[in-house]
């Protein structure tokens, strides 16, 4: 960067000698000036300076003239080794400031500032981050932090867990629990710490805001620093004749410096010209040319062309859970990601010599991207079927009229809109005991064996209509598992902790339009419960102590929807009584609705009982007499049925234009697994099991015959996906103003995924967002940045230069060492 001979007075004219201190001070002054000019320039560009803009222009001109007249001194300053080193040191300190001071939310946006509107929000984030940092700095190595102990009951569970899932899984679960129990008191301590030092943090935040330390990388002082660095590197790279800086001794350094200058110039171009944002594309919508700058819906930019979403898919990891239902484990089982050849060893047993061996080995034989599950064959169970037998079961066919088909198909699934037949299985025990008409014309419940079928109809209990179950959990009362109570319309429930919950209104199908609830005026029983919920009012605990005489706080009005977990969705934090967690489950059988029927096949005869007391005998193959446009036809009744699994794996597909068609399939995935009992022993048995990742016909579930364990195969949507992909198309307006698709080649050329973006006319599009509950949406990042090629070139050049410098270094070291030997005093 700097030629040391210049420092040694090689030039004939006397020059000022810069030291680290003086150079650093001058740089600091230049940063202050740069910041001031940057602020004023911003104001001038926003027309806020008025006539004073001339003053700024004059000042700039004067500064430029002064620098020109003093160019020799300027050159001396920038060519000083001390200046170069001080600039590197200042750069490190500046970057360090940005690491130690949390950058404000949205700092990527050059226009983002701390304002009166967002002050508290920005400060809260700052305080949380700084509080976390300072707390740990003051409790180095955990000294003085509160400790959390794993309760003995949890310890017992962990031992059982290790026996079932293996030592490694047991150890990992123990570490997880230890961390979890330790973090609770620690986080509480951190919260107290930050609250105690609030005024100090607020002062720090105000100072950081004033100095723009919390948007350091977008500040004018930082830009000034990088500009000075580029000037310094540039001026010191090409000193002397070319043979000097291209010779073997200096070539590496020269190349590195060229790369650095290119990178800084590219960065400057990026700062002046780049723009980032996000496009929200939907498979159901047309092309768009607008994107939201810096993810802000209020800042929209338009591109000179339109982008459409031709295809989109999110592929999840295929995982397996192994349950041991009779072991009474309360913790969730591990989820195993699957790949061909993976082996899992479980259910350890103790051998005679005291050592342990696995009692179960699972080996993944095949994974398929598309599995087709056919309606299973049903037969009466024999003795050999063991736990595979499901108990009583009725097999029926539901025939939907054409107008009802849309209710059961996903939008855009491409099914023919004609009458549709689908098999239905009803089992009195388990989750398939009920069947509800898609057109909401009737409700059916299965019955077989013990108890009178008539008893299944709900009996009026003098309260309002029974709606379902309300689950209640009070954090402050130390509840871990929620308490569940049946809930009626208008009922009031007292909750530990002094809360009182009253059900004010029930909604069978909650909908919003423009942020307002759409109230369905029909009677509750006529509305199909597609999105049921209840409106409740909650009063909090009575005030205590000094507040005992105060007026009771206003009740909170809360909507509790069946489909939304308030904690997972983050809604819980917004509630007035955030310590009270409520959940709701609508009882589709007991709540108001269409007529109820019981389908009974006890004692070898089938009959359909109506709530009104009617009883009609039924015959296989003849439609049931039900009040609906849908037809239900019984096919067979079984006392103890076995379903014969029918899962086919489809061959891999490859598109004609190079895309992986399987990726875009929304079909269930398939798994073939070898289940080996007592592996590596004389009692070893093996069985091949096929599963599919759909609950249709229980294709995702396989219980072992001895009921020791059960397997569940699924695609995990609760963790990061395996991958997301979108196929984009580009559109232009023609002379008539209509959008016309631009031919950009096969889909493979326009397919984007994380780590593989698509570029068109200077805009880069990359996959950034998706939502498993919104399968047609794809969030596409948009970047326009002409500085990228120069920066990337600079970075590659730096690597090449560094390798050259240290490849040549051993050869040149000796001569340099000799040259320095005479002057080596250990000081600069």
């Amino acid at each position: 960067m700097v030629d040391k001979q210049a420092e040694q007075g090689g030039s004939p004219e006397p020059r000022r000698r810069w030291g680290f201190g003086s150079a650093s001070l001058v740089i600091l002054c230049l940063l202050v000036v740069g910041q001031g000019v940057g602020v004023l320039l911003g104001a001038a560009l926003r027309n806020e300076l008025g006539d004073r803009a001339w003053l700024l222009g004059g000042f700039t001109l004067f500064g430029a003239l002064y620098l020109w007249t003093a160019r020799s001194s300027v050159l001396t300053f920038f060519r000083s080794m001390h200046t170069g080193v001080a600039l590197v040191a200042w750069s490190a300190i500046a970057v360090c400031a940005g690491v130690l001071v949390p950058q404000i939310d949205g700092f990527e946006d050059p226009e983002q500032r701390v304002t009166a509107v967002n002050y508290e929000e920005q400060y809260a984030a700052f305080r949380a981050a700084e509080g976390y940092f300072f707390y740990h700095l003051l409790h180095l190595y955990g000294l003085g932090m509160p400790k959390g102990e794993v309760p003995p009951t949890v310890e017992e569970g962990l031992e059982k867990f290790a026996r079932l899932y293996g030592k490694e899984e047991g150890d990992n679960r123990r570490k997880q629990m230890t961390t979890s129990f330790a973090s609770q008191p620690k986080m509480a301590d951190i919260a107290q710490f930050t609250a105690r030092h609030d005024s100090a943090f607020r002062g720090f935040f105000d100072l950081a805001t004033a100095l723009e330390l919390n948007r350091a990388y977008k500040s004018s002082w930082f830009a000034t620093l990088l500009f000075l660095l580029a000037v310094s590197v540039g001026l010191n790279t090409f000193r002397g004749p070319p043979r000097k800086w291209l010779g073997p001794r200096k070539l590496g350094g020269t190349v590195t410096h060229v790369g650095l200058v290119a990178m800084l110039l590219g960065g400057g171009l990026s700062k002046l010209q780049s723009e980032r944002g996000i496009m929200h594309l939907d498979l159901r919508e047309g092309p768009k040319n607008e994107y939201f700058r810096y993810y802000d819906s209020a800042k929209r930019s338009a591109m000179p062309f339109w982008v459409g979403l031709d295809r989109f898919a999110r592929k999840e990891w295929k995982q397996l859970e192994v349950h041991f239902p009779n072991e009474g484990l309360t913790s969730t089982p591990p989820s195993y990601t699957l790949w061909p050849g993976r082996e899992l060893e479980l259910d350890y047993v103790t051998k005679e010599d005291g050592s342990q061996r696995p009692g179960l080995r699972l080996r993944v034989l095949e994974l398929a991207d598309e599995a087709r599950v056919r309606p299973p064959d049903v037969r009466e169970a024999g003795e050999a079927d063991g736990s595979q037998a499901l108990g009583p079961l009725a097999k029926l066919t539901l025939t939907l009229p054409a107008e009802e088909v849309d209710h059961v198909d996903e939008p855009g699934s491409g099914h023919d809109h004609g009458p549709k037949e689908m098999p239905v299985f009803l089992a009195p025990t388990g989750q398939n005991a009920h069947f509800f008409d898609p057109g909401w014309g009737f409700r059916v419940m299965a019955h077989h064996g013990g108890g009178a079928a008539e008893e299944l109809f709900p009996v009026a209990d003098g309260q309002g209509p029974l709606l379902g179950e309300l689950s209640l959990r009070v954090d402050l009362a130390g509840d871990v598992v929620p308490r569940t109570v049946p809930i009626h319309l208008g009922e009031t429930v007292g909750v530990p902790g002094g809360y009182v919950v009253t059900v004010e209104r029930a909604v069978a199908h909650f909908r919003l339009e423009n942020g307002t609830e759409v109230v369905d005026e029909r009677p509750l029983e006529q509305v199909r419960p597609d999105n049921p919920g209840i409106w409740v009012s909650i009063t909090g605990p009575e005030p205590e102590g000094a507040d005992a005489g105060a007026a009771a706080p206003e009740p909170e009005r809360r909507l509790v929807l069946e489909a939304i977990d308030s904690e997972e969705s983050g809604l819980q934090d917004n509630y007035k009584f955030e310590g009270l967690v409520l959940g709701f489950r609508w009882s589709r059988w007991n709540a108001p609705g269409p007529p109820r029927f019981v389908l009974d096949w006890s004692g070898g005869e089938g009959r359909l009982l109506g709530e009104d007391g009617t009883s009609v005998g039924i015959t296989a193959g003849r439609d049931l007499a039900l009040p609906s446009t849908s037809r239900v036809t019984p096919l067979g009744f079984f006392d103890n049925a076995v379903l014969e699994r029918a899962i086919d794996f489809m061959p891999e597909k490859t598109g004609s234009d190079g895309v992986d068609e399987d990726f875009y399939l929304r079909a269930p995935r398939g798994l073939a697994l070898e289940v080996i009992r007592n592996p590596d022993t004389p009692q070893e048995t093996s069985q091949i099991v096929r599963l599919a990742s759909t609950s249709d016909y229980l294709a995702n579930w396989w219980p072992s015959q001895d009921e020791r364990f059960a397997l569940r195969f699924f695609e995990n949507t609760r963790i990061m996906p395996f991958e997301w992909r979108s196929v984009l198309s580009v559109w232009n307006r023609d002379a008539r103003g209509e959008l016309v698709k631009v031919d950009l080649g096969p889909q493979a050329e326009r397919e984007i995924r994380v780590n593989d973006y698509f570029q068109h006319r200077g805009y880069r599009f990359f996959q950034t967002n998706a939502d498993p509950s919104y399968p047609t949406y794809s969030g596409i990042g948009v970047v326009f940045d002409p500085g990228i090629p120069l920066v990337i070139f600079g970075m590659y050049t730096i690597i090449v230069g560094t390798v050259l410098a240290f490849l040549f270094w051993p050869k040149t070291r000796q001569s340099k060492h000799n040259a320095l030997a005479s002057t080596d005093g250990g000081a600069a």
């Binding site: 040391k4 080193v85 590197v88 040191a89 490190a92 970057v95 940005g98 690491v99 130690l100 949390p102 950058q103 949205g106 700052f126 981050a129 976390y132 940092f133 700095l137 180095l140 293996g166 490694e168 990388y217 980032r276 929200h280 939201f292 993810y295 819906s297 591990p334 990601t337 350890y348 061996r357 990061m720 395996f722 991958e723 997301w724 995924r753 994380v754 780590n755 973006y757 880069r764 990359f766 950034t768 967002n769 998706a770 939502d771 509950s773 969030g779 990042g781 940045d785 920066v791 990337i792 970075m795 590659y796 690597i799 390798v803 240290f806 080596d824 005093g825 250990g826 000081a827 600069a828």
Partner: protein
């Protein structure tokens, strides 16, 4: 290690090979210490021959390098991807880097070939690195070994080279810092016992070795352990004279620079490979993410060291002080990063135990009024 050795059949192959590595490292460290004593005795007797214990230590170190590579190979099979997704896996990779770097530097620096007394320094360095590997693995063992799937952003060809280049450079820079540590211990105790150092210099060294947070977990034990050794050397009149020590210090400084020179190209390549990767993943070569910034600070500190040494002719305490500051920056980037204020919203928290990174972190807050659910 003991837990794995006593539950051999219940442990995964990667854990078994790691336990064997740890055992070899402990044995190698003991052999190195024996070799150091033997080499000291030989140096006093004017003999230049190598101790068999030193040969055994190096052999154990090389075998340990082989076994830890087997461990990584098996871990790769066990998790079905390059094993650097969890912090436990990354720390084991650091152990691999330490062993590979020490094996390479052992021959590249050739410290043991410089003279009879130099073999002692080489033995101590090998012993410190082997103990370092043992403690790194012990720390990895205290973390969860559960398999974690690679999120989409990590499924890149850059993943392995970026991590390998950085980890190898961290290990090499760590070894350079260990040489500096030996230098400062030597300088402090020789100053305390023989004099010749300024009071300010002595205090600065003491504060640097004892009070600097995070680096003190390495510097403090070594500093304290070196005390009885130097006291014993002084008591038994075996401590070399001031001139010999000054020459030794100068050579140590040179050796530390050569170790740095091996690591710096890897650090540079690793840092900018991360930028290439970010460009492919998010079309954003530099997002001013705090992990990127911490790595950049480390690189700038080493650039500073390079310029101060090459152009400013910094030598001795000042140059080695900057070199140790670089190692501290490496440690902060590698292990302390999660506590830094600006790291809470970092995109680089994949290795955290308690953090499930969200791919859509590039879309903070309310992206649009009508599409809140997308975030």
């Amino acid at each position: 290690m003991l837990d794995t050795l006593t539950n051999w059949a219940l442990c995964a192959p990667s854990a078994r090979y790691l336990a064997v590595t740890d055992l070899l490292c402990l044995l190698g460290a003991v052999a190195s210490l024996i070799a150091a004593l033997d080499h000291g005795r030989r140096a006093r007797a004017g003999q230049s021959s190598r101790s068999p214990a030193a040969r055994l230590a190096v052999l154990l170190m090389m075998v340990a390098t082989g076994t830890i590579l087997f461990s990584v190979y098996h871990r790769w099979r066990e998790v079905n991807h390059f094993p650097s997704q969890t912090m436990g896996e990354v720390i084991v990779m650091f152990s691999v880097g330490l062993l590979l770097a020490m094996v390479a530097l052992h021959w590249a620096l050739g410290i043991f070939q410089r003279g009879p007394g130099w073999a002692v320094i080489d033995d101590l360095l090998v012993a410190m690195v082997l103990v370092g590997v043992y403690y790194s693995d012990a720390h990895a063992g205290s973390l969860s070994s559960a398999q974690r799937d690679l999120p989409p952003a990590l499924q890149s060809l850059w993943f392995a080279p970026h991590i390998v280049a950085l980890i190898f450079s961290y290990a090499t820079m760590g070894i350079a810092a260990l040489i500096c540590l030996v230098y400062f211990c030597l300088r402090f105790w020789s100053g305390a016992l023989l004099g010749g150092q300024t009071r300010a210099s002595q205090w600065l060294i003491l504060i640097g070795l004892v009070l600097v947070p995070f680096s003190q977990i390495v510097t403090l034990p070594v500093f304290l352990l070196s005390a009885p050794v130097f006291l014993w050397l002084a008591r038994s009149a075996r401590l070399p004279g001031r001139e010999q020590l000054a020459k030794l210090e100068k050579e140590l400084e040179e050796v530390s620079f050569r170790a740095f020179a091996v690591g710096f190209p890897f650090l540079t390549a690793g840092l900018w490979m991360g930028a290439f990767w970010a460009q492919e993943a998010w079309a954003n070569y530099w997002g001013w993410d705090s992990k990127e910034n911490s790595a950049l600070i480390t690189w700038l500190v080493y650039v500073l060291y390079l310029h101060l040494r090459m152009l400013g002719r910094f030598r001795g305490e000042r140059a080695m002080g900057v070199l140790m500051a670089g190692a501290l920056s490496v440690f902060i980037t590698f292990q302390v990063f999660g506590y830094l204020p600006d790291s809470q919203k970092s995109l680089h928290r994949y290795t955290d135990e308690s953090v499930a990174p969200v791919e859509g972190q590039m879309t903070p807050g309310a992206a649009t009024a009508g599409q809140d659910q997308e975030n």
